[in-house]
Structure formats: structure tokens, C-alpha cells
Symmetry: D2
Subunit: 446 residues, 4 copies
């Protein structure tokens, strides 16, 4: 999944300031500190590690996250900024809260700014929308969905953002956003370096779809799956409620089906799961429509879960891009609702397709307990990294450890559901779903 990446982390310079980190000072053995030489293996396969050893190579690894004994910034003079970008995701407020509390209490930083409404808050024409942040402003936000700073979509001028960072003398910028934000962050780093500024940029990867490359789990995902199962349960109840009832649920997942698959494993009432990574046809003896008809004929009801990025091939071409530059997806949910409705009517099986799209009810949730804890670790480690002068990196989670991942290693790539991996194979077991492609009958079914 990852080859020959450069996993070295860029720094602003040598970390010479003895840390102000409160816990570390108290800790007699100093074993609270992490060294840059502490590294976590990318691969946990014994075979691969032995192969490396035989070839005289060092296995690929990530720098471990955590507080360093020496830091780069003087906490008293340091000014930090936070910005949240793109769509809502459970946990944004937890991240904001934990960054502010860690900077303030653990390191003694007093100048912390929240940039309002995404990168737009840096731009003169939107009025430089900053908000002073201190513990009392964030103490109670963790029970609320959304982001207290507001967000926005759309590109902003990198030069103007860096102008603002420079003028405000920001030492650490925390960017919380998805792949687009990551790309923008690398460009901000380029401009910072070009101008010789000393501003660290630490990314906290946000994607409800859980598809960030080199990040085994992203915040908000667990909460999203939890709520998605409610939608599936509803679809199942509706499908059971009528003769030949069909429930259809559209879930998030532009390029990857992690939510659709995981929620279907959690609420095992689903018969067909359609994701971007696995091709399917509507027509043909093995296509979705015929398979659905067979299911209805034998079992009397059916539930279908579709990820929003699935089945885009059924639409002629792209429908443009949105303000953030994301390809605008065709609405596969409404499309399937119509196609299935028409088909079943033609088969004399019409009982209406019950369609549920819970997307905004999911995105706006407050984080559940699992994500609360996860967010607080992500945020604290982001602060540790920034204080140590690390930059152009994001906080990842890999084999139960928080690690430093270079932005360039992750930006522009995506994690996907592996059709041969245990997740999709388990899904096939749980649903009993077959290959839904037209021409696959012979090789597969017999």
C-alpha cells in the first residue's frame, strides 16, 4: 500500500528550548518524552520485516508522535492559529477544544486565534475573521456538533493567507480539513519557506469517509457509522413493513465505501452494498436489478446501501466541480430510487422504494465517546509536534500509535476498500451478495 515514501519530517530548525510541557517536567524518569528516533513500523508483517533484514534494508517507519524534551518555540511569545475547512464532521469541536486547552494549560501559550469560516477568514475581503480563543471559550463545546469556528468551501489565494500569517506573526498554524485542505497546506508551506518565515503548519486530517492515505482511522468515522446504522435499521423496518418492500440508503463515501461497508457490517440487515471501489451493473442476469428481483421473489423484502460515489459510470460524464474543486457527483441515490422503482413496476412488483439520505444528520452530530477520546489524542499530539517545530506534516494513527506523516506522502492519494481484503470479504459474507457485473456469471457463480 505504501512504497519508498520519504517519511522524514521537516522542521523549522533545531529544538533548543527546554520544554514548558507541564507533565514532562513533573515526570521524574522523563519517560513521558518521545525521541525523534522512536519510530513505528509501517508494516507489521513478520515476513516483510525479515525480507528487509535479508536485503539489508531498513523497514519503512513513521516518526512517533508525543511531547519532546526540547521544543522550538518560546511559549510566552508564540502565537497560534487554528482553522477548520470543508464539510462538517463529528469531532471538529473536540479537536479545537483540545488544541486550545493543550496549548494553554500544558505549554503556557496565551495567544491562540481561531480563524472563522475556513481559509476565508484569512482574506482581507472577508474581513480577517479571527476570534481570540481561551479555555473559557471552548470549555463546553465538546457536546455540540459542527465547528464553533465555522467552515467554508472554496479555494483562497495562498499569498493572501501567508500575508496574514506573516502580519499576525503566527508561529503554528493548525489546519483541520480534508484532502483539499492538505493540498492547500502544502502550498502554504511552500510560500512560507520561500519567504523565509518560521511558521509551522500541522494538519489534522478530517474526512468522514475515512479515506485519508496513511491514516488508519479518521476522527468522526465511528460516530458516522453509529448513526448510519440507524438509517439502515429504518430502511430494514420499512422494507419489512410491506409486501416486496425495498429500503434504499445513501451514505457518505465519495471515493471509498468505508462507511457503507462498516455500517452494513454493524447492522446486518443489508442485502446489497454498492461502493465506488467495486463495479456493478444494473442490467443483465447478474445485474443489480435482476438480483434484487430474485431476492424479493424469494425473501419478500430487500435493503440496499449505496455510497454516494458508487455507480458514477451510469451518468454520461462529470457534472462539474464544487467550490472546493471536488468533482460534483451525480446523485446515485435518487437515480437508483427511480431506476429500481421503474424496473419493479415493469415486473409487477411495485411497492415503492423507501429512500433515506441521512447525510446531514450524520455530519452534524457531536462526536461519540470513542471519537471524543480519539480527537483529544490527535489534538494533543498536533500541539506537541507544532511546539517541537515540526512542519508540513499531519498527525496520523497507525498500529495503535499516533505518528507524524509528511503531508506530501498523503496529499492527493486515498485509502480505499480493498475488494480482496477482510473488510469487503466479510461484507460479502454478511450480505450474501454476489458479483453484480453482467459478464461475471460463469466464472463466479458456479
Amino acid at each position: 500500500m505504501f512504497e519508498k515514501a520519504d517519511t522524514a519530517i521537516e522542521t523549522l530548525g533545531e529544538a533548543r528550548v527546554p520544554t514548558s510541557y507541564r507533565r514532562g517536567i513533573q515526570c521524574s524518569h522523563n519517560n513521558c518524552f518521545v525521541c525523534d528516533s522512536d519510530r513505528v513500523l509501517l508494516e507489521t508483517s513478520l515476513e516483510k520485516v525479515l525480507a528487509c533484514a535479508r536485503a539489508g534494508e531498513t523497514p519503512v517507519s513513521f516518526e512517533k508522535a508525543g511531547p519532546r524534551k526540547s521544543i522550538y518555540f518560546d511559549p510566552k511569545k508564540l502565537r497560534c492559529a487554528l482553522v477548520t475547512c470543508g464539510g462538517l464532521c463529528p469531532g471538529l469541536n473536540d479537536i479545537i477544544r483540545a488544541i486550545v486547552l493543550e496549548l494553554y494549560y500544558a505549554y503556557g501559550v496565551r495567544n491562540i486565534y481561531g480563524v472563522r469560516h475556513g481559509f476565508a477568514g484569512f482574506i482581507p475581503e472577508y474581513g480577517y475573521d479571527f476570534e481570540d480563543l481561551a479555555p473559557d471559550k471552548v470549555a463546553d463545546i465538546h457536546g455540540r456538533g459542527g465547528t464553533m469556528l465555522g467552515s467554508s468551501r472554496g479555494h483562497q489565494d495562498i499569498g493572501e493567507i501567508v500575508d496574514c500569517l506573516d502580519r499576525m506573526n503566527i508561529g503554528i498554524l493548525f489546519t483541520i480539513g480534508g484532502d483539499g485542505t492538505l493540498m492547500a497546506s502544502t502550498k502554504i508551506c511552500d510560500a512560507i519557506k520561500e519567504r523565509g518565515l518560521k511558521t509551522a503548519v500541522i494538519g489534522i486530517p478530517k474526512t468522514i469517509d475515512n479515506d485519508i492515505y496513511l491514516v488508519s482511522k479518521s476522527f468522526g468515522f465511528d460516530t458516522a457509522v453509529d448513526m448510519a446504522t440507524h438509517a439502515i435499521r429504518s430502511a430494514h423496518t420499512e422494507a419489512l413493513g410491506y409486501p416486496l418492500g425495498v429500503g434504499l440508503v445513501k451514505l457518505m463515501g465519495r471515493y471509498s465505501g468505508f462507511i457503507a461497508v462498516t455500517a452494513s457490517l454493524a447492522q446486518q440487515d443489508v442485502n446489497f452494498v454498492l461502493i465506488p471501489e467495486v463495479d456493478f451493473d444494473l442490467e443483465g442476469p447478474n445485474g443489480l436489478l435482476a438480483s434484487l428481483r430474485e431476492r424479493l421473489a424469494t425473501r419478500g423484502h430487500a435493503v440496499i446501501v449505496v455510497a454516494e460515489g458508487a455507480g458514477q459510470k451510469f451518468f454520461g460524464g462529470a457534472s462539474g466541480t464544487d467550490a472546493s474543486g471536488n468533482v460534483r457527483l451525480h446523485d446515485i441515490g435518487l437515480f437508483l430510487k427511480d431506476e429500481i422503482g421503474k424496473y419493479l413496476k415493469s415486473q409487477g412488483m411495485d411497492s415503492g422504494v423507501k429512500y433515506i439520505d441521512p447525510s446531514y444528520m450524520i455530519r452534524s452530530l457531536p462526536a461519540n465517546s470513542n471519537d471524543n477520546v480519539f480527537c483529544s489524542f490527535l489534538a494533543r499530539n498536533a500541539v506537541h509536534a507544532g511546539m517541537a517545530g515540526k512542519t508540513r506534516m499531519l498527525i496520523g494513527y497507525w498500529h495503535d500509535e499516533f505518528v507524524h506523516v509528511p503531508m506530501d506522502a498523503s496529499a492527493g492519494k486515498r485509502k480505499k476498500v480493498d475488494p480482496n481484503g477482510k473488510l469487503w470479504q466479510s461484507l460479502l459474507e454478511a450480505t450474501g451478495q454476489e458479483d453484480l457485473r453482467q459478464g461475471q456469471a460463469l466464472g463466479f457463480r458456479e
Copy 2:
């Protein structure tokens, strides 16, 4: 609200059988029993009652529900049937469960049949789909949404239904459904009478919209409001999340806005509530669009709740009827989403309308505690009424009492939100919403 209705309840004949009702037998003072002469006033206004007294009239009242000392049927020989019709609604399984348990344990009835998939289960071509019901079949169903019997939409032949009742020698038929089911039940009663059969028909009014005439509260409504507030909270979080954010929620309510209004009162983050009972315009200085723009300009975000039956005037004409004969409504939610989107774009205020339609996630819920208790009372009183030989009636709830309401007094009429009543007036206070009609500027705003 109710004038000169005949509130007398029809019976199959004199109730001469000493009741087998277990509690009643044990109850030494016999004060567990209700007499037919126990009646509940329709109006609780002192003034109206005094006016009646002065005019020498008896105030309108309903027969009180509850166990009678003598019953009509011999429990040992009695055969009962239950049927659930129309859309799902929280509490259907609670009703089924409580009817079965009451018939079985409290009266000793042993032959109880569940008709599957609505009235269709009575029809030969669908194969007379009956299910024997006994306590073990229903013991655990109250935690589940939907109906264990299944439901269906669409008219069935009254003659065939009564043929089946006759052939199966059904003594009491419990029909659980909405206004269409009520109408069908009166026709079944006509046919029963014509044929000289001795079958009681007891209706349990089901409408998630809470719009049944002469029924102050219908089961499932409380659960529906509970979940609807989650959708509103999500819309509010999404609206707050972006500059000029707009959240739009479509809720149930074909002819009445009870869910929309009550949920907006429960989750007071709503700025505009649109219901069938109160006219509104899109255009004009007071119209929704201009009012929304003003709200966004001053407050930066807005939440709109629309009942599905609101604003049908914006569509040329009817879009036909569904299988149950209900007028097929145009989709006001998607319409508003598009119109508001286009308008805001034209005003340079576009940030996308976040649209939430939680209908099927609401309809499929299991009943909450409040509805659980309510359903068990409705069901037990339905059984008491049926055992006493009452027929052509439904179980109502009026001023904290369960009452017998003649089907003919309720069928075909609807309860509506009174624009001058306390509910709508409270809503106006809570939202700060003004009259949204074009020509109402002068008389109302100043």
C-alpha cells in the same frame, strides 16, 4: 370544533354475559368497571356548559372507555382478528401486543388472528394471509419499529373482506389505520349489518400526523416529534457551520402541521415554519424568500421547517392519487430547496441549502416510553369495547380520558392547527416569524 354530532355508540346487542375480565372479578368493590352512562364532556369550558344549562340542553359528551361488568361475547368461543393498514407509525407493535395480551390473559380469548399486510390479507388472490397470535408471538415485539403483521396501501373489495370475516367467524375485528382505514371500516360495518352478521369493528386511529378528528393525541406522535427534533438540530448545526448557511427540514404532515409546529417548539432553533393551514408566498416583500434574505443578512444563518402538505398551491395541480386513494402530494421540500438555492444565488448569498428529509427514519422507529404507555391503554380499551359488543367506533383520548367515538363522527374530517390557537401563536413567538403573505405588509407588520 364539534357540533351536534351523534355520539351514541352502536352495539351488536345487549351485553348479557358476566364478564370474564380477571381484574374486575377480583376487584371487591366493582369500582374497576365503567358504565355506559359514564360520559366525558366534549368541552371543558365553564361558559359553554353553563350556556347549555341555561338553554336546557345536555352538553355533548363521549361514552367513557373501560371494562364493562357484562360483556357481549363468550370469550371461549370468540374469534378475533387484527389488521394494520397504511404507512408505518411508531407504536403499531405495541398496539398489536397489548390487544393480544389483553384478549388472552385478561379475558381468556384463545383464537386471535393477525391479518398480514393490511386488508390484502383478507383477499383470496393474496392467499388469505393470517397468522395465529398468542402471547409468545408478541412478547418481545414492543422494542421494534414497524408492524409484525406487515401493512399495505390500497383499497380492497369490501365484500371479499366481509366474506372472509364471515367464513372465519370473526367476532371482533380490530382495524388499526388512518382515515382511509376508518372509511373502509365504516363500509365493512355497513356490509356486516346488511348480512346480519355479529361482528364488532373497533378502530384504533393511527396517524403520525396527529390529525384525527375528535382524537386529542394519536399514538406515535410523541416519538415522531422526538426524532424530528434531531433533524432540526442537525439542520441548525449545518446552518451555523457556514457563512449564510441555510438548513431545510421536511417533516410529515399532509393536511396539518402538528409535527412541524411541535418539533419546532421543542427544538427552538427554527426561524420559519411552513404548514398546510397557514398560507405563505415565496415572492413579494413579505414572502418567504425576501424574509429569508433579511434573516441571513442580519443573523448569518437560518433554519426552515416545512410540513409535506404545505405550499401545494405552487404546483399547477394535483399529481394523482396513490394506491390508498390519498392525493399524491408534490414534493414541497425539493421544490423549496431548488427555489431558495436559485434565489440566494441570484442575491450573491449562495452557500448551499442543507436539506434533510427524515420521514422514513421517523416512521420506522419503535415507540418511546410515552407512546408505549399510551398504546397499551388504547389497546386495552379497544378490547374492553369489543368484548362489550360495541361496534363502528374508535378509541379516542379526550381530556385525559379514553373514550368511545363513533366512526362516522370522525371519518373524513381532520383536526388542524388553529392559526389563532395557542399552538401556532406560541410557534410565532418562538420563531419570531411574521406573516409571509405578499399583501399583508400594511395591516400586520406595523
Copy 3:
């Protein structure tokens, strides 16, 4: 239940100020207003009303709540205070929020004070703890449990409270509390009158136990029942989990068993419900212990729900009073856990009693949707009453209408579960529970 009470409401004087009530002004027909002559019948029984008419008497009725066309106070000069007293109850923050918003937006009152930590906040030695309240302070509190003002238990000096009201020139005092608070409020009214002050005192009855006399439903009760059912479900699961498993749940209810009974009806897995209103024995052939043994022998598991005020006879005498003057109850939950444990061990049936006391998890909940709406109506009507110069009254709810109830008619009395009424009788049906008194075998069981 109520006889010859004086239901007349005391006023501070004639209401001569044209109302500043925003909705009313806009309302062309003025039909938003309620007159003092609008009254709601206490009894809805036709028979009782007719008996009154025959006797030439006027049936007992309550004054209807709602906005009056003329008010007593000048909103511009008016100063209001709110205080929350006693134990936590879901909905306190909703009440505070709605009172503040209604005073501020609907009437234009600008001086609103929250008294912190109950009546203690009025007392010099605690430092006169007042908090200025305005919409921004309360806008977001409705999602939180508890009370933003804090509460306290214990008596305070009435003279000092009224000194403070006088010195601060408070026109309306809203007291939100239970029976003790009601009693204190009447004494405050006495002192106010004695001193010739013009301060209205409006009570909003708070009791999670739902036992306030002349109030058909108190806020927080619905939320409490909801959570209580979770505890019961847990007890049932634990009981089912082991051979001869016993689950025991203690619920609130010092003098009345409304929560215990209603929750047991909502979650019908309970076999024995013990409440203060219905006597029971432990020993004897019909006692709880023998009945439990029989249940375990035949069904293998059992669930018991006990209200905290039940079974106090098993303890020698009172265990004193708490700071509020409430009789300190003996802990019937722990007592039963021990007694049942010992008894079952002696019978060779020991599998441990799984004991659940969810009290503080219930009291601290935020209100559910149903209670949210209810609280906002209570609060708004309290404001209407106060503005109209009404005093020494509380806001009640009776036959679906909000009404004015004189404090003296309610204070010191309690609503109880009627052992012959539909609630307890339904409970007996649902649980199958028999009379648990020793000597009741003959008359009842055969």
C-alpha cells in the same frame, strides 16, 4: 379529588396597562387574548356537571392561563427575579430560558435576575447571589440538564428574602420548586402583603415524582419515565442472564408511585411494583418473598421495581429530616436487596440480586422533546400571569389547558396513585401481580 376549593386567584390590583405583548398587538381579532372569565372545568364527568346544574350550583373551575389584554406592570420599569429550588429535575433550564425569552422579547422587560442556589441567593450571609439574565445568557441552555442558576435545599428566613425583594424592587418573583418551595412561597406572599409591597409571586411546580395536587402532569416526569425504562430493561436483561436471576430497580417517588408505575407500564418486563400507596408485606404466604420465590420457581427470573417511599413501615421509625425539612426516607432499595438476598439464599436459590439505582442519572437529564414543549408553555403562561398582576398562584395543567391554581389549594397536599384507578389496575394487569399482604389470601386469590 377536590372539593369546594376556593379557586379564585389573588391579584396585586387592577390590570390597567395596555399590554405590550407583541403577538397580541399584531393579532387583528384580539382572539389571542384570554379573559379572566374563561374557565376550565375541574371535572369532565357529564354526570357531575348535570348534578351541579340540578342543584343550582356552578361547577368548580380554574381560571384559564394565557395573555391578558391589559396588564398590571409597566414592562419598562419592571424588575423580575427567578429562583430554582430543591433537587434537580429535567426541564429546569427550559423553564428559565423560556421565562427570560418571554419577558424580554414578548413583553419588553429588560431587568431580569436569576437568583443563584435557591432561596440562599437572597440571603446576606451567602452574599446576595444574583445574576443578570438576558437572551444571550440562556439561548443555549436548553440542551443541558440541571439548572444554570444552581439550586439548594434548606429553609431560609422569609423576612430576609422579602427584604431583598423589597430592596431590589422586584415586581414578579418566579419560584420553581416542589412542595416545600410552594409552602415558602405562600409565606413570602403573606410577608409581601403585610408590608404592602407590590410583588407578584408565581410558582411553577417542580416534582419529578409528578405528585403535585391539582396539577395533572409536572415537567420532567416524561423524561424521567423514559430513562427509568432503561434501568428496568437493564434489570430484566440481568435477571434473564442467570438461573433464578433477580433484578431490582429503585425509582424516585417519595409519597407516590407515578414514576414506578408508569415506567413499569412502558417497559413491561416487571413482575412486582412496590409503591407508597399500596401496602405490602415481606413475610407470609402472599408476601413479597414467597411470591418472588414462586415466580422464580415457575419462570426462572424476576424483576422488581420499588419507589423510594414504599415499605417505610419496615423501618422502626423516621430517620429525621433533611435540610429542606423533608422526612429522610430509609433506603428501601438496599433493604430489599439484602432481605431478598438473605431469603433466597435460605431457599437455596441464590444467584445474587442485581440492584440498580438510577436516580441521579435521571434527575440530571436534559428534558426530552415532550418536556421541552411542556416547559415552554408553563413558562410563557407564568409570565402572562405575572404581567397581569396575578399572585400567590401556580401554573397548572388540567384537561389539556394551562390554568391558574391558587397556591393554597395545592400546597401541602399530594396527588397519589389511586389503587382503584385505571393506572394501578393497568399495572396489575401488565405485571400479573397479586395483593402482597399477608392476610389477603382468601378474599382475593380464589
Copy 4:
């Protein structure tokens, strides 16, 4: 944490039967299968792996779980048994369900028995309580808490258990339980081997405390933390509700504080967390009582979370063992409630300690989505292992992979919270809690 363990997995013999595993057969590339040589590293530290390489050693690793290409048992003849033991834990029904469905549908096994009420179901005097399991029996159990098979505590005779396995010709026994069950399972394996039987024993480790050695996460833990946060939120609301309010929550954790710590990180309203791994005193200037008084004096309220196994030193000695042989813990929750109450009274700070013990409300929950998915993976991998003839092992989860762990490597040891690790250090940051031992003032606080 783990040294020189023998991680080799015992087998019943060579796996020569071509698998009947449905997915595997369909999978053209056969890459659904896992080989015994696929191993997962115990340590992911680059440094440790390089040190091994330098020393010429092979790093410690676990055998990877998953379907094997060849299996040991003939599915047609195979008879399997499942047993659940010890206390309830969220997810037991999910495990049962997934084992049955996997055996039935994925491998074609038709003889599956559920042993009722733990190991007692094997014993003649309890009547050999077995239940035939098939998909229809388990299809709907995953929404319910507890275990459909029932459980029990207490030792049973190993010989009688193996007699029963032998007589019933059981090929695979799945034991789902905690450390005691694991110990018993190893003894069953000993007896099986001694008798020369061919019965595989596969353990699925169950501990809501999450303290199973070599298992990074145990099922039910995530659900437990979720509910524990509700209890903490309640304690916080109660503490805030009164002057000097104290909330005290006792959580599960006999030997380890994982639930207490994780829930306190998830709901960051806690000021003191007391766990078995970290010593604390009541008395002394740094003790809990003085620290609490200081907190109350400065902040006005406090929340304490205590794991049930903490502070056992305050009791003279052990209070015996329970039926399962577990040391019976003294009740630290009630003890602290009393001690704190007395102390605060002595300091004139008494406002009552609000005590919450949510244990049985947590243990009886159905699994949340996260645990649902986790359970289904555990169960499926247990089936794969059993079918391949593996035995004397349990299914573990390590660095995102499911692995085979020898029972002997785990039984009798416990995972603990490391006082120097990131979990406890993060907790100290989140709570601001200092060392609560008497004599630690000098070295630690300055």
C-alpha cells in the same frame, strides 16, 4: 510487556480437508486465504526490530487469524458447542450470532449447540442444558443485551464437562468468558488431550474491563465507555447543581482502570480518577480529601471517578471470593461516599455526595456499532481457527489484525494501565490531577 512467550498454536492434527468455506471457493486468486506463516509482529517499534536483526533473532510475532485453504474437520459431520460464562458484557449475543451464522452459512455446519447458563449446562445435576442453534434462532438477537444462552458464575468439574463433550461428540467448543473461563478452558484442553479426544477449544476473551493480556481491545469495552460517560455527565450536572456539589461515580475495573480512564477522557468533566494501578491516600496534605477540599474551595464543585478495584488497601483484608473464585472486592464506592461525606461535614462543606453506580446499566447494554463490527470479526475468526483444527488458543486483536494467541500466554495475566504511558499521562492532563499520595509532596509538586 511480553517476553519470550511461546506464541506457537497447538493443533489437533494436520488440516487436510479442502475448505468448504464459501467465500474462499469463489475467490479466484485464493487471496482470501491466510497461511499459518502469515504472522503479525508483537512490537511495532523500529528500534526493537532492528535490535533483533542485529542479534540474529526473529522478532516475536503472532499467527494471523483468517480462513485457511485446508481445514481439519468435515463440516457435514462436525458438531460444535458454544458457552458464555461470567458477568454480562455488551456483545455476547453478537458473538453467538456470528459464530452460528458463520458455521452454518460459510462452512455448512449443521449441528450447533448452545450450552445454557455457562459451564453448568454441561453438568448432569443441572440437567445438561443444551439448545439447538440455527440461523433463525439467532437472527434477531444482536439488538439485545445479555446473552441468549444465559450465563453463570462458579467452577464446574472439568471431568464432567469433558465427559459431556465426549458423549456429544463435540468437535469445536467455543468458550466466551473472562480470565476464569480461560483458565478452565486450558484445563479442559488438558483433559481432552489426556483422553485422546479430538476437540478443539477456541476462546473468545470477554472482559468489560479490557484487561486481557495480549489482547489490545476486548469486545463490549467501547459500549461500556459510551454509557459510562452518561454517568459522568450526570455526576457533573449534579455537582454543578449545588454549592460545593460533589459527584462520585463508581465504574467497573477490578484490576485495571481502563474504563475509568477512557470514560474520563471522553467526558472531560472529571477532577479525580482513582484506579487500582495508581496508589492514593485519603489523608495527608496531598491526599484525596484535602485535594478535594481545595478543589471545592476554588472551583465550587468536583467530580470523582473510581474504578471498583481501586483503594482496596483501605479495607483490612480480603472479603473472600465469589462463586467464580474472583476475590470479592470491598465496595470502594460506598466507602468513599461515606468518608467524603463525613470529611466535608467536618469541614463545614457538606452538600451531600451524589453517588452513581451504573454497573448493571452498562453490563446489560446491547453492543454499539463499533462493538457489533468487532464482535462479528472476532466470531468469524474464531470459527476459521476452529475449523482449521487449532486449539488451546484465543482470538486476539493486535495492531489492527486479528491473531491467534495461545491460551497459556494470556491466562492468569492482566493488562494494566501504565502509569507512565500515554493513557494515564493524558488523563492527568485532562483532569489536572496531582499525585494523591501523602508523602509525595516534595518530589512531585514543585
